[in-house]
Subunit: 698 residues, 2 copies
């Protein structure tokens, strides 16, 4: 159930506790901001030392506030925050913004204070932003509220911005203003003792003034809830998540006391949630500008129309580097263009109309190109000699763009100069975005393409395979009862089988004759290994012999491993025999990520995965579509395709393994890790040849 | 011998042929630019239709010009350009800028005209810029010359800018002005019928007004000469080379009629030349700003000092993503910082001094950090409450930076606002660069790091291995005399041996007994293959049998390949036998790139190289250092290191193969391609197991 944040964001009356007329006082600055922004409700400074602050009558205490106060801003000494919160609770002021710092972020004592604060929040059912925050802003037509000490008050718009960091939040507000981006709501979450990004996501889902949500996050308050909310929010969610690398993650840890997850898992989690992740401030601006105005392209085919050859080349290069296609023109299009362009024009893609191109050339050229392309980048640099007003070019482009509402058209002027301003203005009327640099236009188009791919987040649970949770639970219960954390191979095989993951046939040998029978039955080559729940890496202990072809070799191997077995101090070791099978070597794994829970890993096996660290991740639950994307996202994926006479590996069996591992992780949080290494796959299916399942200690 | 371009760039007197008072006339615009820029010499419009143009007395013909004219700008109809050039030649005007378009870029007729133009240039020994260009600019203190129709006249500075494209050149001039970058010379090369980038590089090497050179190129006029010039120029050369991708390359081809080379070879060529390659306009600006002001860091260790946590994290992330290190602080430094920072400060790296940090904190903190780091990124966002003028922070940072002249300090303000201007100004005095965004500061630092690596371009010829050019020549002569382009294995082995590349021992078998003897001699396993100069891909024709262990298997293989040999219509086929050897499988190749000449390729062999296309290139000549870098630059390089019990592959033998292949390509341009696939390498050395050498057809 979403919390009711309407009175927090649209209060009738606001109290500023700790407002003071002293220069540089945070409370005074907030009071000043509230007055300056055009807030239409009543304001009440609270401060026992003053009769009035900045001309506004002051009350000595929270208990003296009038009953209509919906929101109290606390900008007071840390030591009196809890008392003030309690007073607000008693007074029935349900919405609080706690600016004061010195809580969790400042050490043990602060963390204890924050715990007490949480207790009060729960007791009185308060909506609390902060502590340690910059405040909140509402910049809609209905309500203008600057309950923050930000020096920037955005001009209003349709983007809601929720920031974990205050200073970065203010920096971004400044950037948004420079970029002409309209922000409707700004919230600096601070320490999130009360409200989190999830509360605001739930609120923004039903907020008509919000067309897209942007979050700057350093950690997730509740990733599971975040995923559920984003998947169903129905509007683009852009996330700038800091801590992508180990160094960054270390800084996050010391900054907010949160634990950052390995970035590959964060990436998988955000993508699976349907979030458009950006990685720099620059990319954030490009993404939000594109999403604010843009149409999403139906496909990847880009046409480039230019009157400046070099810039066309740069745009084409940038397109291909971003994975967009710049296909050659059809003969029909070339003929169509040749009919009105001068013979010097280049009729490739880019179409170089040369410097003499007129507004009519632009209009007709773009019209033709959009017949075959999914999107167009139009480069117009006003040439020295241009016999028309530049806005004529803009008007022509705008007409074509409006006639083709499903195809993004991005215009690039190669200049910020005054000469291009009328063109930019004309295009803005038609919501056609303009950029100075071709690379930025391409970056914007590439973001629109990613947004298209994310538009329908995958809400489908993977089709339920016949999984026998009870059978797996029985095995795991037995293991735990026996006080073990490791599983024997046969136990692991039983658990995997319960989730439909096939395991390569095997048998335990108590004597050499059973081996001979196995060999006679299934043929060679065979592998013989020592199995024990506390033997994790067989190869390192010489506990595996492969390539056994004959009964004699089997006898030798049997004796040798008996020797190894005796030399190692293992828990109930046994000898296990398997037929060796041919195919492509893969690796699958499951781990419990401290933030995101069960995470499934996939890689191409053997030396490759170790040397190249070329693996992909998925966070459970994983849909079939997500699993397939995960498989395809490793660099070495071409090794699984038809290759040197070998047919392509069948993908659906691999998808089933990924989905099943994810489900096992959710069903049994006590499973600390699973390693299926190798899994051997061919054109028919995939089987786990070796396996390791380990339960957590407690 | 460098051409004398002094009078071209610093003429005493300039003629503008085709100047006209009509609005939008190119010649008139140039005359106007020449007057407006403050050119101190005399100006002479040439036009039979006017007595004067824009108030400047006009002469009817080139022959009427006074003798002191050093430079003529031609902005006339294409059909009269050749006549005008001839007149200039006769008159002794040695320097020309031909603005007029309609030459090579416009089709066959124009190309013919340009050929005739080249003849005239040679006949009269002219310095010609263009045709089809925007002109040239000199913006030094000594001479202000805007002999172009550019609407931007740079304010002067120490960067020389040579652009193949006119429109992009003008765009960049505008960007440079916005970024506050000073340009001393600007040349738009146009079609390069006369002067090329190489002529200007030769000139700029001795030009004291030039501290760094920036080139925008779509193709190279003479790559070999370019490399020679850049290697010895002694100042940073930054190149924005368009046509990185296939789509871009297609556009370059239609734009300038030049053939773009596969981008990996371009990259290798530029790096080997010591060029700092940039790939976007944005990166160009960052690079030039960094090089204009910056010191190069001695190492990769970066310290980050901030009063805004989130921005510190973003900077740390960006550092690590660029390959810079953000190492943890030593205990000594942590203690030193803890002595004066508040307890809430984060003493990791980034050091988060929190919003209360003073100018003294910045100065002392930076001083400490630079004791251990090679460079520092300092983030200062003026907080709401700051009790000092912001320039005090700038002054402190500047003092530390000046005391540590070998360590780059980059400052980031998180804002463009007026509040930070005094800080920026204070830092500019000390040549400490400032940036709004942390990612840009990191990008700049990363460029300085690349510049450091390129600072000493590798002029060393690789140590001359004992190579026997004559022996190889004798083999190739024989092959050519026999009318073949393909070589037999033994011929190839002889050529490789002449350059010190070892080949796996082999023998030809005329009967089965010879095979038995070979087996007895060297042991198993053996490989038997058909050898013929016109059999390129043995595996595809079932012309190889591997893993032969016994005499019987050898007999079977012999008979089977005899059958294959008879079924294929080959040129003198023979059966060849080799011992199969174990080790890491590599691939080396040589091809003749149409632009850059002999290019050596390296990859890890087997299925990997085919599936992942993970190869690197070097353009001959290749020094040993360059060869080693080339080997290390493939993604799969970890596969060659110590791994799963195998020792690391020895690198010097691989370096020798790369260097030798490059030298063979230079010695014998008639070698169209060499494939050494596989080369088997181990901890001792590397031998070619199979080889293919093909000569070009003519």
């Amino acid at each position: 159930m979403a919390r009711d944040l309407n009175r927090l964001l649209e209060p009738r009356s606001v109290a500023v506790v700790g407002a003071s007329p002293k220069a540089g006082s945070v409370g005074g600055t907030i009071l000043d901001n509230l007055r300056a922004c055009g807030f239409s409700g009543s304001l009440h400074p609270v401060n026992p030392k003053y009769e009035e602050v900045l001309g506004v009558p002051c009350v000595p205490a929270i208990s003296d506030l009038p009953p209509e106060v919906d929101l109290a801003i606390l900008a007071i000494n840390r030591n009196i925050v809890l008392r003030a919160v309690e007073e607000c609770g008693k007074k029935g002021i349900a919405n609080l913004v706690i600016i004061t710092a010195g809580f969790k972020e400042s050490g043990e004592e602060g963390a204890k204070l924050e715990e007490e604060l949480r207790t009060l929040i729960d007791r009185y059912g308060l909506n609390v932003v902060g502590p340690n925050c910059m405040g909140i802003i509402n910049s809609s037509e209905r309500m203008r509220l600057n309950a923050s000490f930000s020096r920037w008050f955005p001009p209003g718009g349709e983007i809601a911005f929720v920031s974990q960091s205050g200073s970065l939040g203010e920096t971004l507000l400044e950037c948004f203003e420079d970029a002409g981006l309209g922000v409707s709501r700004f919230v600096n979450l601070g320490n999130r003792a009360g409200l989190t990004e999830n509360d605001f996501l739930a609120h923004l889902a039903g907020d008509d003034a919000c067309r897209a949500v942007f979050l700057y996050l350093e950690s997730f308050a509740d990733p599971c809830e975040f995923r559920r909310l984003v998947t169903s929010i129905g509007k683009p969610v852009v996330v700038l998540k800091a801590g992508r690398t180990v160094a960054g993650a270390a800084a996050v840890a010391s900054h907010t006391g949160s634990l950052a997850s390995p970035d590959a898992i964060v990436d998988a989690f955000l993508h699976q949630s349907g979030v458009l992740r950006v990685s720099t401030i620059e990319e954030t601006l490009t993404a939000l500008r594109a999403l604010e105005r843009g149409v999403l392209p139906a496909g990847d085919r880009v046409a480039i129309l230019t009157n400046a050859g070099g810039a066309g080349i740069i745009a084409a290069d940038a397109c291909v580097q971003s994975g967009l296609e710049v296909p050659p023109l059809s003969d029909r299009l070339r003929d169509g263009l040749a009919a009105f362009l001068p013979p010097e024009a280049g009729l490739g893609n880019p179409v170089d109309m040369i410097a003499t191109a007129s507004s009519e050339h632009y209009e007709r050229g773009l019209e033709l190109l959009l017949e075959e392309a999914d999107a167009a980048i139009v480069i117009f640099r006003p040439p020295l000699v241009f016999h028309e007003p530049v806005e004529a070019v803009g008007a022509g482009i705008a007409r074509v763009a409006e006639a083709q509402p499903g195809k993004p058209v991005l215009v690039c002027t190669l200049s910020h100069a005054a000469t291009v301003e009328p063109l930019v203005a004309k295009l803005r009327e038609a919501e056609v975005p303009t950029y100075a640099m071709p690379e930025t236009a391409v970056a914007a188009l590439s973001i629109l393409r990613r947004a298209r791919e994310l538009r329908h987040p995958d809400r489908s649970e993977a089709a339920a395979e016949a999984s026998d949770r009870a059978a797996a639970a029985a095995v795991l219960d037995r293991v735990r009862r026996e006080g073990r954390t490791g599983l024997f191979f046969d136990e692991g095989a039983e658990v995997l089988a319960a989730y439909g993951i096939p395991v390569c046939p095997y048998a335990y040998l108590s004597n050499i004759d059973e081996g001979a029978a196995f060999l006679a039955n299934v043929g060679s080559p065979l592998a013989l290994k020592i199995d024990a729940p506390d033997l994790a890496h067989r190869f390192e202990w010489d506990a595996v012999i492969t390539g056994i072809g004959t009964e004699t070799e089997l006898g030798d191997a049997f004796n040798r491993l008996q020797g190894v077995m005796n030399s190692l101090n293992l828990d109930g070791p046994r000898l296990l025999i398997q037929k060796m099978i041919a195919g492509r070597e893969l690796i699958f794994g499951l781990e419990q990520d401290p933030t995101f829970g069960p995470a499934v890993m996939f890689g191409v096996g053997g030396t490759l995965v170790e040397a190249l660290k070329d693996v992909s991740f998925g966070v459970a639950p994983i849909s079939e579509r997500q699993a397939e994307r995960m498989l395809r996202s490793i660099r070495a994926f071409p090794l699984l395709e038809a290759f040197r006479g070998q047919p392509a590996v069948a993908i659906p069996p691999l998808v089933r393994i990924v989905v099943a591992l994810g489900r096992m992780g959710l069903d049994f949080p006590e499973i600390a890790e699973i390693d299926l290494n190798p899994v051997i796959a061919d054109e028919h299916g995939a089987v786990a040849v070796d396996l390791l399942i380990r339960l957590s200690e407690e």
